[in-house]
Homo-oligomer: 500 residues x 2
């Protein structure tokens, strides 16, 4: 049986190598590729990804999984070997259910849809994107139907990004969260607002870069296993388990973009780099889910990077870097400024208090589209109505509204909720961490993060994708995903800032 | 039959895509990869290259080639389709003759040998490399034997880099060349030497970079389809036919390294970018051979970049960039300095008059090793004896002698002669070009290169690998590779510089 396991591991390692090659092709496309390489890059990515898929879904893998089944049940269920077989079986069964015809169709439709979306956005014309989105919804419904019987048709879509999580669970979580978050935003709106204009000044890009590098180096980001580059849309990319790179975008007239973006991506990278190297070159060698990943990026960005103790340590340094811009801004004023709450149209610019509301709106729309209780043509109206209800603002046009996100044009229906779930998990973990490490604030106040990183490494990172997200969170915090901690966190933080 | 052809083209396109992915993995390894990624990168390259090889040598490709044979003979033999079938057949037959066991063995041996070579070089201890080189010679002999019967056992090795070229041809070429080149070097040695010390000053790297970019942009290097980066060893890499990148190394205390290195690599890149896009994603979508490639890089580096007309145009600009270093150096003095002839131990630093002698020495040694008329243990002695005979200098140690090149440690026996052949071809083409474009010198004197590039594009570049090197040179110049033009070129140039 060890032989069969070895064979399976070898095949999965080759799939991982192909995925790493595809990852590099993607990274390069967004960082250094000359524009003329775009067409060829499309072919290269298509070929490499298709080969990886064919290898992973091959009959040989299926046969090995079947043969290994009796062996797997004798193993310690938490062992790497047992989990490898379990997770691979799960992915294999899911992926082999999807006809290659459907995959090809979605690839074709989204290639055109992406272009249409980009044009619709520029021209502020939802009608241009509408027929493409209709096709995408149709194809994603057909995909979801493949997994019937199901509790909810949306389950299979959510499961692509959050293995094992059910639509009903997310609905319950969000229904508990929404009224509390809406109430908080309203309460804040009635209070005197904080000033944040000083963040919108000219900040030299190289100095922003250097400060960010300094911060994430002290977080523990290891440059022997990573690097930072510029890209239009920041992202983190694993190219094999020992090479995890981040990209950052800087705005020369707004400090937050580069500063918090760098910490955010470093959070993703620290997760990937913390995975047990023994899980490398296998389906277990990545984060447990997108929500778990986002819990890490948001923790470093917000719970650490937007906290008062953090800036008690770093603000004097930042003031030295930008004396003309920040020399006369007090620590308190700076801290409040970077935590300003301001309902806006654009998700990616949203603050901690409003962010999840953007997500809930999208999730509700997605579920209704897949349930066919909402038609694509009615999207703009529904979007604007909900915006008014949740955030109290209405976008002036569809470009600032329903057309703002790229996800749907790429077929990614099922993805959005992971952003909000990540926020919730970050606070849940944070409460646990502060119980285990009672002097964490003190350490952060000294710019020391090694104990925090070790805790995360031990409890979360090293396990890679061995456990489904709910199982992992349950193991670490004692309960599944629950919005209570995040609500407590928001109320404490903004209660103090806005004197509520 | 068009269907079968289409099937073959699709398979070959996928092989090309995998090769492009491997090319990017290699490019990144030498430019931006963090050091910790090295082990994973080895796996990734291994997997992608093995898959490309398996796909190319698959029975399916063999069957399609068999089926297409009767169709191919009816086609215009110069058509893309006929040549695709012919070139693919040739490569397929060669590659399928090699047992995968031998490929794996060579990969293992060279991985260890490379390390041993690097250590031997640092420690100046040939004995450390010797047993590894013995194994490599043995494996390359076994490889060559697979192609028996042959005219000469070395033929198969040469053919890997120069399709169709025979050992006997190269020997004849070099036997004609060697006495003339040795005589020239001796004649130069007896004349008053030129001064070149001014090239060894402090030259700001960014200014070197900018000047090089300016020059190769005017050559016609298109930055929409390329880019330049730094690497320890300069190289050119095609990542698909529309993305051809160069790397350069700069020496802050010596102008030539970056300056002529940039032009050299741009010459390679212009070749690849000039290939007919219809040949992309196929075995025809690269240069005809290494010698043809080197003829292009050496032409732009030497026949253009080390010529007087070129510097009549660019020298005032270079003086403006480096006024303190070059302000008092006349054009004539500069021109002579960059063309200084000085026999030395190191091939990569050799001038035009001595370079080929380094190559001939290596070729003779390689042939003798493969013929088994020379034993590896005797290499250092033979090396030094020949150096004395050809160049009049003897290296002080093996690091400066037989250990200087990386090639053998990687199993690349058969490669070296292509460097010298490239020089010869560059001069042969240059004579032809000057007949076709009588006012070429005038254009170069104005910094205009578009007519030259068009000529090269029309006669050489666009054909890609459709023709074997000898066939292509015959078509363009009326004769096969012949050293006469290069000897004429050297005699004219150095006769004038050294007043011979």
């Amino acid at each position: 049986m060890e032989d069969k396991l070895k064979q399976l591991q070898t095949m999965l390692a080759e799939v991982s190598d192909l995925n790493a090659a595809a990852a590099l092709l993607g990274w390069d496309q967004q960082t250094y590729m000359p524009s003329g390489g775009a067409e060829g890059r499309g072919y290269q990515l298509g070929t490499v990804e298709t080969l990886a898929h064919l290898k992973f879904t091959s009959q040989e893998v299926g046969k090995l999984l079947d043969e290994l089944q009796p062996y797997a049940v004798q193993l310690d269920p938490d062992s790497n070997e047992a989990r490898l077989i379990k997770v691979t079986r799960r992915k294999y069964d899911k992926q082999t259910k999807v006809p290659s015809q459907l995959i090809a169709e979605l690839a074709q439709v989204t290639a055109v849809a992406h272009q249409a979306w980009a044009e619709a956005r520029v021209e502020n014309k939802f009608a241009k994107f509408q027929p493409h989105l209709e096709k995408i919804v149709e194809l994603r419904c057909r995909y979801a139907e493949l997994f019937s019987p199901y509790d909810h048709i949306y389950d299979a879509l959510l499961d692509d990004f959050e293995p094992g999580l059910k639509t009903a669970e997310v609905k319950t979580i969000f229904e508990k969260l929404r009224p509390q978050q809406v109430a908080l935003v309203r309460a804040i709106a009635e209070k005197p607002q904080v000033e944040a204009g000083f963040l919108h000044q000219s900040f030299d890009e190289q100095k922003q870069w250097d400060f960010g590098v300094h911060v994430i180096s002290s977080f523990g980001y290891d440059w022997k296993h990573g690097r930072q580059d510029r890209s239009a849309h920041p992202f983190t990319q694993s190219i094999g388990s020992q090479d995890v790179r981040i990209t950052t975008r800087f705005n020369p007239n707004f400090l937050n973009t580069g500063l918090f973006g760098t910490m955010h991506e470093a959070g993703h990278a620290l997760y990937e780099l913390g995975i047990d190297p023994l899980l490398g070159r296998s389906p277990l060698g990545s984060g447990a889910s997108l929500a778990l990943h986002e819990s890490q990026s948001r923790m470093w960005e917000n719970l650490v990077g937007r906290s008062l103790p953090f800036w008690e340590h770093y603000y004097p340094h930042l003031q030295q870097v930008f004396p003309a811009q920040l020399g006369n801004i007090s620590l308190q004023k700076f801290y409040k400024g970077i935590n300003q709450v301001q309902p806006s149209f654009i998700r990616v610019e949203a603050d901690e208090a409003t962010y999840n509301l953007h997500i809930m709106l999208r999730l509700e729309i997605e579920i209704a589209l897949i349930e066919k209780t909402l038609q694509v043509k009615d999207l703009p109206e529904v979007w604007n109505t909900r915006m008014k209800e949740y955030l109290g603002v209405v976008p002036e046009n569809d470009t600032q509204g329903v057309l703002q996100d790229i996800h749907w044009s790429g077929g990614m229906i099922g993805y959005f909720s992971t952003y909000a779930l990540g926020n919730l998990v970050s606070a849940q973990l944070w409460e646990r961490i502060n119980m285990d490490l009672p002097n964490l604030s003190e350490q952060i106040r000294k710019g020391e993060f090694s104990t925090l990183l070790s805790w995360l490494g031990e409890k979360i990172h090293r396990h890679g994708a061995k456990f489904e997200p709910q199982e992992l969170i349950q193991r670490v915090t004692g309960s599944k995903i629950d919005p209570a901690a995040y609500v407590r966190y928001l109320k404490a933080k903004y209660g103090e800032i806005y004197q509520i």
